[in-house]
Amino acid sequence: MTTVLATRSLVKRFGGLAATNDVTLDVQRGARHALIGPNGAGKTTLINLLTGVLEPTSGTISLDGADITKLASHLRVRRGVVRTFQINQLFNTLTPLSSLALAVSVHRKTSTRWWRSLGSDAGVAAECEQLLGRFRLGDVMDQPVHSLAYGKRRLLEIALALACQPRVLLLDEPVAGVPEGERQEIFETINALPADVSILLIEHDMDLVFNFARTVTVLVNGAVFAEGDVQSVSQDPRVKAVYLGEDDVT
């Protein structure tokens, strides 16, 4: 097992508050790694640090062994570290098709083309068709994003990340706000991702976590509280006490 994304003693302080407190984390290649913890545990902050949206107070982040602590956010994306947002962050006046086409053209290195139209690269169209099909956005592909239903927008949120051809995919509560019936479908799409894509996922729905994850890290008050495979973490009495509460979990 090789480590693809790692942090060492990562700390992020806001004034006196340590939102991320000495976190050392390893994401393995091909991981199906869940990050869980009570609200306010610092999970999104950690993702923000990993993607470069926030600068750490101290500690390091490395990708394939190379230090990326100071690397700009968009450059991390180019190296394959891609994330989705808990609250949809979409391009509201664009269409799903043009949003995806743009993301695809970034990794195809044609995003700085200024003379030929967005639609002129045949490869872009092919990839978009694939993504639209996989996420069932084909029928709304030409509608402005702000007019789409929430479920479709959530799908686009994830499709947009996949359009970047991630090697490491960081999903922040991918099914937040999505009705029960559709959650399974989204997770199946995520599950169907190639085995060598490493996935770190923040999630509250325990059924989905246990169906999907092989490794679990529990974050409490910004620090790593427990870590291990799904079975051992779910049986850990300390974890149950602080997070899972009194409920029995399968």
């Binding site: 968009h74 180019r78 962050q89 043009s98 990794h107």
Partner: protein, 335 residues
């Protein structure tokens, strides 16, 4: 691509049509030279409208497409005007060379000041752009040995337009303004054609993406600062072209070209015409000039009041509803 249409997937078909010409665009581009042919008596007025339109299109690039709210866009307009005027006066009266020089100069100004608009809030950007325009105003005022100071730069004589590498005789600027209007129109059309390719390209799409959601734009791998710098430089150049055209066709440059009311006026033009679809500057310039002439004929002294009122109503009601008067008193209509 020479694949038969039936073989294209829906996405491919939609993308292939992404930059297609709409009928009204073609009509607009046809109308421009037609106006020169059919309205010779109004050439001077039309020329002023065309210059204003060009200025507004340049603002659309940064405001409508990249989402940068600037209160100092006149900085480039004035800079281009003075550059062209000084070039004609001190170096060479050839208008086309002067235009190229002015565009280059204001593009450089755009490049230099683009670093100022990269960070901070909308208010920061407003202040910084306002500050730059104000500084240029002060500079033009104080460096009066160069710019003529408060009196403006006069005595600018522009030579005939000579088309390079051709045997065509030069086109002298005539008193009716027909040559001036033709010259302005050509520049406007060329800029529009180039801008059109720009906004439909991946670069143009990335501008709109960063306008809509800067965070997500970076999160799909787009370098936001570089794009902002690029579009601000281009917009500076185009605004400089508009200023140069004004200086060249009117024969002088003055301080008020840098003034706040110019920046506010071009913004108003764009708000009237609509942002983000490239032609708002043209429709807005036409509407604005008509409005201006109408109201000034009636009450020249208090034009500002009525335009202020117009602005307040336009914004309150919202542009979409404003141009559809039948929706003004509809139920629950929101702008």
């Amino acid at each position: 691509m020479s694949i038969a249409p039936a073989a294209l997937s829906p996405a491919a078909r939609s993308l292939a049509g992404y930059a297609r010409w709409r009928w009204w665009e073609l009509a607009l581009f046809a109308a421009l030279p037609l106006s020169w042919l059919l309205l010779p008596g109004h050439a001077l007025l039309l020329k002023d409208i065309a210059i204003l339109a060009l200025f507004a299109v340049s603002l659309d690039l940064i405001l409508g497409y990249a989402g940068i709210v600037s209160l100092g866009h006149a900085a480039f307009f004035g800079f281009g005007a003075y550059a062209a005027a000084l070039f004609a006066k001190e170096v060479l009266p050839d208008p086309i060379v002067g235009l190229v020089v002015a565009v280059a100069a204001s593009s450089l100004l755009g490049l230099a000041t683009s670093v100022l608009i990269l960070r901070g809030t909308d208010l920061t950007r407003l202040m910084v752009t306002l500050g730059v325009a104000s500084i240029l105003y002060e500079l033009a005022n104080k460096l009066d040995w160069l710019t003529g100071g408060a009196d403006g730069l006069t005595g600018v004589v522009i030579g005939p337009i000579t088309v390079p590498f051709s045997a065509l005789a030069g086109f002298e600027f005539d008193l009716n303004g027909r040559v001036a209007y033709a010259y302005t129109l050509v520049v406007l059309i060329v800029v529009l054609l180039i801008a059109r390719r720009l906004v439909y390209s991946p670069f143009g799409a990335s501008l709109q993406a960063l306008r809509d959601n800067r965070l997500r734009a970076a999160s799909i791998g787009l370098s936001v600062p570089l794009r902002l710098i690029a579009v601000y430089t281009i917009a500076g150049g185009v605004a400089g072209a508009a200023g140069a055209l004004l200086a060249q066709t009117s024969g002088f440059a003055s301080l008020d070209l840098f003034d706040f009311h110019r920046s506010a006026e071009v913004m108003l033009v764009l708000v009237i015409g609509g942002t983000g679809y490239l032609y708002g500057g043209i429709f807005g310039a036409i509407a604005f000039k008509l409005l201006h002439d109408l109201i000034s004929a009636w009450t020249p002294q208090y034009w500002n009041f009525w335009i202020g009122l117009f602005l307040v109503v336009l914004v309150l009601v919202g542009r979409e509803r404003f141009i559809r008067p039948w929706t003004w008193f509809g139920k629950g209509a929101r702008p």
